[in-house]
């Protein structure tokens, strides 16, 4: 079987959806956050495969940007989650409902 662009895209799409499901379904903030990273990486995979099959490097460059940004995001995000955990002794989303309506 020849592995073409569609397959890579399909994998990337599946990864993206898995990430999405993780965000929606999992209760733990850290897991949710990891699912988000999964979604970003799905985008990266798509970019890289487009890059490979279109013979253009712009996509690869963009991936570097994304990885960098994601790293920054993770740094801030994890710090936040940790601060919250310290405060509440919990990293579950159900506990975060002091503001509503």
């Amino acid at each position: 079987m020849h592995v073409g662009l569609q397959h890579y895209l399909a994998v990337s799409m599946i990864l993206f959806c898995l990430g999405l499901l993780g965000v929606i379904l999992r209760r733990n903030l850290l897991v949710i956050y990891m699912s988000l990273e999964l979604m970003l990486n799905a985008a990266n995979l798509a970019l890289v495969s487009f890059s490979r099959f279109n013979d253009k490097l712009d996509g690869q460059v963009l991936v570097f940007f994304i990885i960098t940004v994601a790293a920054a995001e993770v740094a801030v995000g994890l710090a936040l989650i940790v601060a919250l955990f310290r405060k509440r002794q919990s990293a579950h989303v159900e506990d975060l409902t002091s503001m509503k309506l």
Partner: protein, 491 residues
Amino acid sequence: MNSSLNFIGMEVSVIGLGLVLMLADLFVPAERRRFIGYLGIGVLGLLLLFSLGGDGSCSTFGSVFNGSFVNDPLSLFFKRFFLVAAILVLFIAAEFSDRLSEGSIAEYYSLIVFALAGMLFAASANDFVMLFVSVELITITFYVLVSYQRSKIAALEAGVKYLILGALSSAFMVFGIALIWGTTGKLNFTELAAVAGQYGDSKIFLLGVLLVLVGLGFKIAAFPFQIWAPDVYQGAPTPTTAFLAVGSKAAGFVLLLRVLFSAVPSVTAQWGNLLIVISGITILYGNLCALPQRNLKRLLGYSSISHAGYLLLGVAALNASGQAAILYYLAGYLFTVLAGFLVIALVLRHLDTEDISGLAGLNQRSPLLAATMTISMVSLAGIPPLAGFFGKFLLIKSAVEAAQLTCNHGYYCLIFTALAGVVISLYYYFGVIKVMYWSKEAKDLTIIELSAPAKVTAWVCILGIFWLGLFPNTVLNMANAAAAVFAVVVK
């Protein structure tokens, strides 16, 4: 290369300023750190003067870095806008500094300045990479800004909510960018515009554009991506909320305008109905939810959703007057919203809740603040002679023009939805005024002493609101010139 750096002189100086402010923290004794903010204000003020004088880096039109960074009337307009916003927010932050004592206030200032840098980049972004990076620069700084009051559980909660949903929207946006690039092979807006017409039928391409719009829709808090706004507005420190309401939203709009009218104008032209529906629902959602709201900041959060709806009305009109109207409206919105948050910051900072009743009797406590809040609310509602009225007037005009041009009755439906929204909003905006002037709940009637900078800020906001309401010529011409950028693309 040297000339390229000249083009981004303002951005570079702003980033430099951010670093300086952060470092200043080390050398300034703790009790005087709030004054570091005035240093930032001074520098930003100078930059603003340069830009107004016409010899700043941003007033040299052209594009650099392979066309990914562009200086044109539109970016000029927004850069001035962001500078003014940041200056006023720094004033508010300085007044609010005693509530931010857990972290160092200087860091807070520098984060604001970094967010400003992101916004300045956003104003000039002309390709998807720049778009992504500037958006992320803004968003990530805001994660910190929102949850700055670490000891407040609400602030952390708001921070986490903003973080997760922000990251979610970024993921969508990135995926969208990937799809766009994958189908067209272009990242630059100008280049994309040339070919976008050919991909009008490609669902993958359209999906990509839509996903990018999802990311931007998140920033401007348009329906159905508005869900985060009330919680984050409520939980964040007041200066952050103010900057979020003005700067972040405006950055979203400038990018939205660029993507819709610079990058994919041919696709956008098909999406009138989509934009009409989104705009209408956003207006109704924001106004209806605000109706029973008692928490002031949350109220302004909902109100900010509805204003995103009004602004989208200008987008939906798909014409130059609509785009100019958006810019004008945003300019008015800047002074109006900051006036409101200034009062909230000053009056409610010592209260645990931000309930409207905290404003009771404000007319006796501080007539200036009461007047500022009144003018802000009235301008938000869009009543002459204030800025909000002229903005809404321009928006409605553009929609009517679109309606008469296209014979699309949807526009009239949208206009009447907007009217309904305005009338609904009068109820809660005027409710605030009522509380200040004749509420019976007033218990604490101590006079509020105002510092000189606070007074200056209040007066700047008031004068700005009146200026934009009474003498629209200058800004309107600027907005028209900025909107003319898109006319070139269409041709």
